[in-house]
Each structure stands twice: as structure tokens, then as C-alpha cells.
């Protein structure tokens, strides 16, 4: 080929490369530049193939295809979070290529190569090999396959020197020989170089990875350049040099951004205190005259979140500072959503990206770009630092050292003098970090102690989600800019901010319909299939109502039907007769108020029901019909709580109606633990322990709540247990609340339901006040929507009863359809009546189905490794215990009991949220019910259809396996 054409083509390839790199100034240009550079290299490859005859085309094609295919495949599937590890890995591959080529060249040349060829060949070999091993180690550290902490070996520097020496020696030796001894010498030098790379990289810690990767980038380029010299290929030299330049720049940028000298980083080991030099002290510029004395304001986590939401709502400008913690928590998508929402609300939002945020220069930007953040919003530190003083709110996500004012206030720390984001200058600071532990430098962060800082510790993803909900919920209906215009709209928003509402209401928590359920409904609205296992709502999950119940209610709601013979003939005779009976006793119909305690003949029927069931006398005057048992519970609590120190004993775990109601009514909660290892039975020890704890805390126990059969535990109490409980109540002069709404749901044949009323009567206890509750919501009726139930009072004097009736009368009366449903519950068709057989059959089918589903769910869950549950003896729930791998960074022993509980709650919340997002299964985290410290639970109902339960168990097992694996690998 004509020489000048050849040169021209070579030049144009180089020109294309230069152009490609030059285009890398904006994202759009970068994409084009990448394509341009790729084209240049492909041209170069084509040229080489054209110019030279290939002696082994098949092997060449094979190697080319296999390498390209694997490279393409992995490159297309790698996630943005994995990029640093991937890039390091590729540096390694580059090192292998350079090293291998150098090896072959040297062995071919033997002792014939000139000095230049030998030296460059050796350099290419050594640098390539060291780059390979160093990069592989870096990649493993970045992928969290090995620990992040630097490992300094004893005599580390000595080892390095020895290795270097042996390499030098072997190379010198190899310079003068050829053939097999040369190959062996080179192989030895290669191995030593590999070791060198490993020893070199192993003492560089996780946070210094950006420097290391940049350095390896440069060495990979150098290796290529030296290879080029060895084979006398100008293009290799040129490209190699360019890449080396790039790596050098990035390394310098990283070192400057961390304010650590390059040598310091390579020396590795723990960060040593860095003395602040004269120059920095005088003209540092960022030093403050008198830093404020920080006084941290004590806030509960809930208060901090509330305040944060308020801050964000009112802020006009927000700067978000992301850190590596955000990547670890995979929170970038939620953060991006939050930023978008804040922008829609008219606020100025931007991201401040510190150059060293992340494990690789520029990594944070890629993660945020992936989350669809406008790249114009990703601002550099120098640019955005001037704006903090005028910014209303700063949101810090998973970052610590980069916002640590100690860097500019305190001398002699590992980060002294390091440029930071001036978050501390903003008006409000919201920190969403996992916990209070310092960053890699180990330097405590005084920003945490400033009064304007809100600390929202926990999983960043969950925290940001909470903030999102808080802000979007409030934003609905308030036009952006309303806060600026004085006038009606603005005033209304200010009047009803949550800061104006009842503290007790704000504090009350009811997890059964909490944020996870709301998220489930959101997903369902988007078309996702959700299996609701959060609430005992049988008819929402396919259970059919009992025919008799609905037939009777139907006729009672529209009595005119009874005058139409054609319609009457469609109903069973006994239903019609009963309807006429009821209408005779209660002629006003379903639309009128009834007497406050309920329709008299229904109260009578309830008393008869109790007598029949328990064989004891029952007084209809002491029965009050309520809107579901929940209202009955609240009535008892309202009546008995007299002073702020009064409290009720409630089981742990418990149905959160009790804890929420006590909070709402200003009463104290005295939790007693149920014994999970003993089928959730109550122990006397547990009861008396909690009583003495309460006494010590100055709380006066007035009542004891027992849920039998248990919610969420499903435990059916034995008679002995009930007697013991009554004994304790008697001794300590407590009132008893017996929540017995699940009395019809007993599946375990070894158990039987004993009512507290019966046992109380048989024990002859006439002192202990007993409030028993029943409802139409559960059992086999499942009529939750009808809100029907009753409260039966025992050992309660008449004047007290009057007060209860007065309380009931304030809401006038319970709803009539609910009262009628209660009537059907306590007075079902009798044997001999027409509907009786069908009633019994339907009841049996429903209960049998529930029993089988209980076993199906329970056994299925017990087969999942890492999960266990006591097969529910009754009720409708499985309170599942699960285990997660221990996070090595979390030191539970160093936390207080509250912090541990909060941590467990966060773990559960994240688990249940992920379970929902990944499988569509909606359960309630155990923290909503309370649990033994140190355990993790969630409550699931077994109400869905049977085949859904099977699918549920399978998906649950899969999810748990994935989740524990994921958390194991990211916990490093």
C-alpha cells in the first residue's frame, strides 16, 4: 500500500480519537465522542487485519468473538451501582492483555532485542501484571466481596521492596538469555508483579478507592504505551499515553478533593491525623471565626420526621447532598422522586455532588442520572458551595465526611483541610443517614449536634419514602405559590398544619392500615396485583356472607317485600317468620335511633346466648350493643382512665387498637410479653414483672387486656391460663377486658375456647370487673362492614353501668344493621327450622376452610429457612418470625433499648416494603403490634383463597432467600 495513503489513514485514526475525546465536554457530546473513538479503534483494527496476513485466522476470530461477546454481555447487564467494580475489573483485563503481549514479544525476541525493546517489554510485562492483580483486588473490594478495611501486613514496605527487587533481578537476568530459561525468568517476574499488585492494593481502604481506580487507569495506559514501544507501534504509544494522562488527572483531582497526598493514600493503612499547615491556617478561606456552640435538641424519631416534612414543605430552596450511603441503600430513585415533587411545588432544587462522593470519581452523577435527574441539576461542589448560606433546606442522604464541618474547624484530624460541602451554612439541615457512626475518617461530625439539624436515622430509602408521602399528602390541593400570596388560600393552609392538631392524635399509630398498606393501594391503582394479608377482612378476600344473615337483613331493610307473596315465596319460611317477629318487636325499622344501649330484645338475645354458651346467668341490662367491638373497647378505656398516670396492661404483641386508643385517650401502656416459645400463652411472671415495672415508673395500672383467641398470635388460652389471669387481676385490683371476637375461630382440636365470663363465674369472683367483647366481624360471619358487636359488663355496680350507658348515649346508639347482625349472630336458626341445615353447612365449610388455610400457611412458612411461625390455634393470623443476616456495621450492644427497637422497626418496615414491591404481598410489620426485643416479625392473615396462599408461600420463600442474600453481600 502506498506509504503516504498509509500515513494518511493512520493520521485520520488519530484525529478521530482526538476528536472523540474533545467531544467529551457535555453528556450529548460524550455519547458522540464515545462512538467516534470506538470508530477510530475499529478502523485501526480493520487496518491491521488488512495490512498483515494472519497466520491463524480461526484462533484469532475465536478469541476475538468470545472476548467481545462476553464483554458486550456483561456491559449490557451491569447495573450503575456495579460500575466501579466493573471498571476496575476492566482495568484488570487491560493489564492482562498488555502483560501477555509483552511476554510473547520478549520471549520471541530472546536476547536479540535491543535495550529499548527489552526495557519497554519488561515495563509492559510488569506494569500490566501489577495492574491486573491490583485491579482485581480493587474490583473485589468495590463489589463488597471482600472487606473494605485496609490490610497492612507486618513489614509491608519491606515486602514491597523485596518483590520489586526480585522483579528487577529476574528482568536483568532475562535480558541476556533466551528460550526456556527466559520464559521461566519472565514467568517468575510476572508472578512477582502480580503479588506486588496485590500487596500494593490490599492496604488501600474502601474510601480511597477513587484514588486507586484512577491510578490503575493511568497504569493501564502506561502498560499499553510500553507495549507499544516494545512492538514499535505508534498508535499504542499514543493511545496509552493519552489514557495515562487521563488517569493522572483523575488521580490528582481525587487527591485534591480528599486533601490527601497521593503518597499518603498509597501508604494506606488507617488515616493518620493530618497537621494543618501554616498556609492553610492563614489563608484557607473556609475557616470560620467562631463556630457556634452546638447544642443538640432531643427529638424522638417521629418528631424529627414531622419537623423534616414541615421544613421541606415551607422551604423555597433545597439542596440535596448524596453520598455513598445513598447508593448502598439504593435510595436514588426515591430521592429523585422527592426532588421532582419539590420542584413541582415551586421550590428551587439542586444536587450538590462532592467530587469524592461515591467509590469512583463521578459515580454519584451516574447514579442520579439513572434515576432520571436532570443533569443540569447536578452541581459541582465549588459552584454550589456559595449558595448554601441562602438555602432554606439541605437534605443529606448517606453522606458524612463530605459535610463534616470538623474538616474546616478542627486541626489534626484525617480530614482537616479537606474541602467540604458547606451544608452547615444552610437554614435547616436534614440528615438521612443509617446511623450516627462517623464516616470513613472516623471523625465525629459536629453538624449532628447543631439545633437546626434534624436527624432521621435509618434506611435512607424508607426515610425518603416517608418524607415523600408526607409532602405529597400535604401538597394535594394546595396550589404552588399559595404560601406567597396572602389571602384565603394561604391562610387556610397555615391554620390546619399538623402542628395545630392534637398531640395525642399525631402520636397514635395504627399499623394495620399504615404506610405499607397505602403503598399497596398505590401500586394496585397502577395495575399491580396485590395480595392483601394485612387486615382480617374476610369478605374482601372471597369469603361469602352467610345466607341466613343476608336474607334476614334484606327483609328488615325493606319490609315492603313481606307484602309481596311472590317475593316472600323466594325466602325460607323461618326467615320470613323471624323478620315479622323482629318487625313486631321493633316497629320503627332500621332507620330510627334505638335506645342507647341497643334494641332491648337483642340485648335479651345476647344474654341468652351467653347463658347457653357458658351455662351461667347473664343480665341483659348489662349488655351494651356497640358499633363493632372496637367502640366497646374505647368505651371501657375512656371510662376507666382517670388520671394521666393511669394505664392498661396490654399484651406484646397486641392488636394495635389498644395502643393507639390508649395514646389517643392519654392513658399509659403497660406491656406484658407473651411467651412465643410457649405457644404465646401468658405467664404469671410476665404479668407481675410488667406490673412492678409500671409501679416503678409511677404508672397506676387500672386494667388488664387479654385477647383470646389472640391477635396477632392466634393463641387459644387454656383454662388454667385464664384462671391464673383472673387471679392476678383479682390480687392487683385490676379490671379485665376480655377481647373474645375470635371465639368462633378455633382450629386446633386440642384447644377449646373458655370465656372469661364463665371462668370468672365459676371461680366465684365477685370483685373483679370484667368487660367481655364480641363482634360480628370475625368468626364465620365475617361481617366487618356491618360494625356490629356487644360489650358485656360483670361485677360492675349500677351507677357505673349508668355512666357507660351515658357514654354510649353521646353517640346516640350503635348502627341498627349492626345491631341486627349481632342479633343473628347470637340467635341463629335453631335445629328444626328450615334454614338450620344450610346454616350449619355454611358455617362448617367456612370454619373448615379457615382451619385448612391456617395449616397451609403455617406449614408452608415453617418450611422456609429463616422463618418460623406457631401454627395458629385460632383467629385469622400468622405472626411470623423471620431472621435477617447480622449487619456487621451495626453494633446492637452499643444501642439503647429504644434504639434497638427503632432499628428492628426499620428493618421490618424495609423488609415488608420490599416484600410488597417485589411480590405484591401486603403484610403488617411486627413493630406495629409490639414484640420481644431482638426479634423480627410480620403479621399475615390466612384469609386469601387457598391457591393464593400456596402462591403466597412460594413467593415469600423466594423473596426471603433473595433478600437475605442481597443483604449479606451489601453488608460489607
Amino acid at each position: 500500500m502506498a506509504n503516504w495513503i498509509s500515513i494518511l489513514i493512520d493520521l485520520s485514526i488519530i484525529a478521530l480519537l482526538v476528536i472523540g475525546i474533545a467531544q467529551f465536554r457535555t453528556p450529548h457530546g460524550a455519547r458522540r465522542g464515545n462512538a467516534t473513538a470506538a470508530t477510530a479503534l475499529l478502523m485501526a483494527i480493520a487496518l491491521v487485519l488488512y495490512r498483515h496476513g494472519i497466520l491463524d485466522p480461526v484462533l484469532l476470530a475465536l478469541a476475538l468473538l468470545v472476548g467481545s461477546a462476553i464483554g458486550a454481555l456483561i456491559a449490557m447487564r451491569v447495573t450503575m451501582i456495579q460500575i466501579p467494580a466493573m471498571v476496575a475489573f476492566q482495568h484488570g483485563a487491560g493489564g492482562v492483555a498488555a502483560s501477555a503481549i509483552a511476554f510473547v514479544e520478549l520471549t520471541r525476541a530472546g536476547d536479540q532485542a535491543g535495550v529499548v525493546g527489552e526495557v519497554s517489554g519488561f515495563l509492559g510485562l510488569i506494569i500490566g501484571a501489577a495492574t491486573f492483580s491490583g485491579s482485581m483486588l480493587a474490583s473485589a473490594k468495590l463489589a463488597a466481596k471482600i472487606r473494605q478495611t485496609p490490610t497492612v501486613l507486618p513489614g509491608h514496605n519491606l515486602i514491597l521492596l523485596v518483590l520489586l527487587g526480585s522483579i528487577a533481578g529476574l528482568c536483568l537476568f532475562g535480558a541476556s538469555i533466551s528460550g526456556l530459561p527466559l520464559a521461566l525468568a519472565l514467568g517468575g517476574a510476572l508472578l512477582a508483579a502480580v503479588l506486588l499488585g496485590l500487596v500494593f492494593a490490599v492496604r488501600i481502604g474502601g474510601a480511597d478507592m477513587p484514588v486507586l481506580i484512577s491510578f490503575l487507569n493511568a497504569t493501564a495506559g502506561l502498560a499499553a504505551a510500553f507495549c507499544g514501544v516494545a512492538i514499535q507501534n505508534q498508535l499504542l504509544i499514543a493511545c496509552g499515553a493519552t489514557v495515562a494522562a487521563s488517569g493522572t488527572i483523575l488521580t490528582a483531582v481525587m487527591c485534591k478533593a480528599m486533601n490527601r497526598s497521593f503518597v499518603r493514600v498509597l501508604a494506606g493503612g488507617k488515616l493518620a491525623p493530618r497537621p494543618v499547615t501554616e498556609k492553610e491556617e492563614g489563608g484557607g478561606g473556609a475557616r470560620e471565626a467562631a463556630p457556634p456552640v452546638p447544642t443538640r435538641i432531643a427529638r424522638t424519631p417521629a418528631e424529627a420526621v414531622r419537623e423534616a416534612k414541615a421544613v421541606l414543605r415551607e422551604a423555597k430552596s433545597v439542596i440535596i447532598i448524596p453520598g455513598y450511603g445513598m447508593a448502598l441503600a439504593r435510595a436514588q430513585f426515591q430521592v429523585a422522586s422527592l426532588a421532582k415533587l419539590l420542584e413541582q411545588q415551586g421550590k428551587a432544587v439542586s444536587f450538590g455532588v462532592h467530587p469524592v462522593a461515591g467509590r469512583m470519581p463521578g459515580h454519584m452523577n451516574v447514579l442520579l442520572a439513572e434515576a432520571d435527574v436532570d443533569y443540569e441539576k447536578l452541581r459541582e461542589m465549588d459552584e454550589v458551595n456559595k449558595e448554601f448560606a441562602a438555602t432554606d433546606a439541605v437534605l443529606i442522604i448517606g453522606a458524612c465526611d463530605v459535610v463534616n464541618p470538623a474538616a474546616i474547624r478542627v486541626a489534626n484530624t484525617p480530614i482537616s483541610g479537606m474541602p467540604i460541602m458547606n451544608a452547615h451554612e444552610a437554614r435547616h439541615v436534614i440528615v438521612c443517614n443509617l446511623d450516627e457512626r462517623p464516616g470513613y475518617s472516623g471523625v465525629k461530625n459536629p453538624l449532628y449536634d447543631e439545633p437546626k439539624t434534624l436527624l432521621l436515622f435509618g434506611d435512607a430509602n424508607a426515610t425518603v419514602t416517608e418524607l415523600l408521602e408526607g409532602i405529597s399528602a400535604q401538597a394535594a390541593g394546595v396550589p404552588s405559590g399559595a404560601a406567597e400570596r396572602p389571602g384565603l388560600a394561604g391562610d387556610a393552609a397555615a391554620l390546619l398544619a399538623t402542628s395545630a392538631l392534637s398531640e395525642r392524635l399525631l402520636k397514635a399509630e395504627y399499623a394495620v392500615r399504615g404506610p405499607i398498606v397505602q403503598r399497596a393501594q398505590e401500586l394496585e391503582a397502577k395495575g399491580e396485583e396485590i395480595i392483601y394479608c394485612n387486615i382480617g377482612n374476610p369478605q374482601a378476600l372471597g369469603q361469602r356472607p352467610m345466607t341466613y344473615m343476608r336474607q334476614l337483613l334484606c327483609l328488615l331493610e325493606y319490609p315492603a317485600l313481606l307484602d309481596e307473596p311472590a317475593i316472600v315465596s323466594r325466602f325460607p319460611g323461618d326467615v320470613v317468620a323471624r323478620a315479622r317477629l323482629v318487625l313486631a318487636k321493633h316497629p320503627h325499622g332500621t332507620g330510627a335511633y334505638t335506645q342507647s344501649p341497643g334494641i332491648p330484645f337483642i340485648r335479651q338475645a345476647v344474654a341468652e346466648f351467653i347463658s347457653r354458651r357458658d351455662g351461667i346467668p347473664a343480665d341483659p341490662g348489662k349488655v351494651i350493643l356497640t358499633d363493632g367491638a372496637s367502640k366497646g373497647v374505647q368505651a371501657v378505656l375512656t371510662a376507666l382512665l382517670r388520671s394521666p398516670q393511669d394505664g392498661f396492661m396490654i399484651p406484646i404483641p397486641q392488636y394495635p387498637l389498644y395502643s393507639a386508643s390508649l395514646t389517643l385517650l392519654g392513658g399509659q401502656r403497660i406491656g406484658y410479653l407473651l411467651d412465643e416459645d410457649n405457644h404465646w400463652q401468658l405467664s404469671e411472671q410476665s404479668l407481675t414483672d410488667s406490673l412492678s415495672r409500671a409501679e416503678q415508673a409511677g404508672i397506676h395500672a387500672v386494667g388488664l387486656v387479654v385477647i383470646n383467641p389472640g391477635n396477632p398470635t392466634g393463641a387459644v388460652l387454656s383454662r388454667e391460663n385464664i384462671e391464673m389471669i383472673i387471679g392476678v387481676a383479682h390480687r392487683h385490683r385490676l379490671a379485665l377486658i376480655a377481647d373474645e371476637v375470635y371465639q368462633e375461630n378455633v382450629y386446633d382440636d386440642r384447644c377449646a375456647f373458655h370465656s372469661f365470663a364463665k371462668v370468672l363465674h365459676e371461680l366465684g369472683d365477685t370483685q373483679t370487673p370484667l368487660f367481655s367483647l364480641h363482634s360480628v366481624s370475625k368468626g364465620f360471619l365475617g361481617e366487618c362492614g356491618h360494625r356490629g358487636g356487644y360489650l358485656e359488663l360483670r361485677n360492675v355496680p349500677a351507677p357505673v353501668l349508668q355512666e357507660f350507658i351515658k357514654l354510649q348515649s353521646i353517640a346516640l346508639c350503635a348502627n341498627v344493621p349492626g345491631q341486627l347482625a349481632t342479633y343473628v349472630m347470637v340467635a341463629p336458626p335453631k335445629p328444626g327450622e328450615e334454614s338450620h341445615a344450610g346454616y350449619v353447612r355454611e358455617r362448617g365449610a367456612i370454619l373448615e376452610e379457615l382451619k385448612q388455610k391456617a395449616a397451609l400457611l403455617g406449614e408452608g412458612i415453617n418450611r422456609i429457612p429463616g422463618m418460623s411461625v406457631h401454627l395458629p390455634q385460632g383467629a385469622m393470623y400468622a405472626f411470623v418470625r423471620f431472621e435477617l443476616p447480622q449487619d456487621p456495621f451495626i453494633d446492637l450492644a452499643a444501642m439503647s433499648a429504644e434504639e434497638r427497637a427503632a432499628y428492628a422497626a426499620r428493618q421490618e418496615a424495609q423488609y415488608c416494603l420490599n416484600l410488597l414491591e417485589e411480590t405484591g404481598i401486603c403484610v403488617v410489620p411486627g413493630s406495629g403490634f409490639g414484640q420481644q426485643p431482638g426479634t423480627l416479625h410480620f403479621r399475615a392473615t390466612f384469609l386469601p383463597q387457598r391457591r393464593e396462599i400456596q402462591a403466597l408461600v412460594a413467593r415469600l420463600g423466594e423473596f426471603h432467600r433473595r433478600y437475605t442474600q442481597r443483604n449479606q453481600s451489601s453488608a460489607a
Partner: protein, 103 residues
């Protein structure tokens, strides 16, 4: 000797030009920059190909194939990843100085 001098000049000029060009790359794009320069460093593939243009022993061929595969992995993987990453950056506003770049 002249060859050495030539190679040194090439190295120095390339290093210098590279330094100048790359110091203009904004921190926003540092990660894709690294993966692209990585791909460019896979120019060693040319050296690997050249190994197949001369008679070599079987052992050398195997090593050569290894070098070729690794370089191909690096080359293709690097450019593909860079492309993926640069695609992610979007803006809804008018981009700043994009008009200056024509490709």
C-alpha cells in the same frame, strides 16, 4: 536511536494533548470518561493481533489468544458501558454549551 526519540516524542505529545483535552472534561462525566479511556487503552488489541501475523510457538499462540480475548473484552465492554452511561444523562432545559460541539 532516532526511533527511541520518535517514540518519546509521540508519547510526550500524546500525553500533553490528552492532558489538555481531558482537563476540560467536567466532573459530571468523570465516570464515563474512565470507562472510555479504559476502552481506548484496549488498543493493545492491535499488538495482540500482530502476534498472529508472525510465526509463533503453540504456547505463544495460546497466550496471544488470551491477550486478544482480554483486549476484546476490554474494548467492547468499555465502549458499551460508556454508551449506556452517557445515554442516562438527560436534561429538560436548554443545554449550556452543546452547540460548540459538532461531530
Amino acid at each position: 536511536m532516532t526511533e527511541l526519540v520518535l517514540m518519546l516524542v509521540v508519547f510526550a505529545v500524546s500525553f500533553g494533548v490528552g492532558y489538555l483535552l481531558i482537563s476540560r472534561v467536567p466532573p459530571l462525566l468523570h465516570t464515563p470518561l474512565m470507562s472510555m479511556t479504559n476502552a481506548i487503552s484496549a488498543v493493545t488489541i492491535l499488538g495482540a493481533i500482530l502476534l498472529f501475523a508472525v510465526p509463533t510457538s503453540l504456547g505463544d499462540k495460546v497466550i496471544g489468544a488470551l491477550a486478544l480475548g482480554a483486549a476484546a473484552f476490554n474494548l467492547v465492554g468499555g465502549f458499551v458501558i460508556t454508551d449506556r452511561m452517557t445515554r442516562l444523562f438527560k436534561t429538560h432545559q436548554q443545554p449550556g454549551s452543546d452547540g460548540a460541539n459538532h461531530g
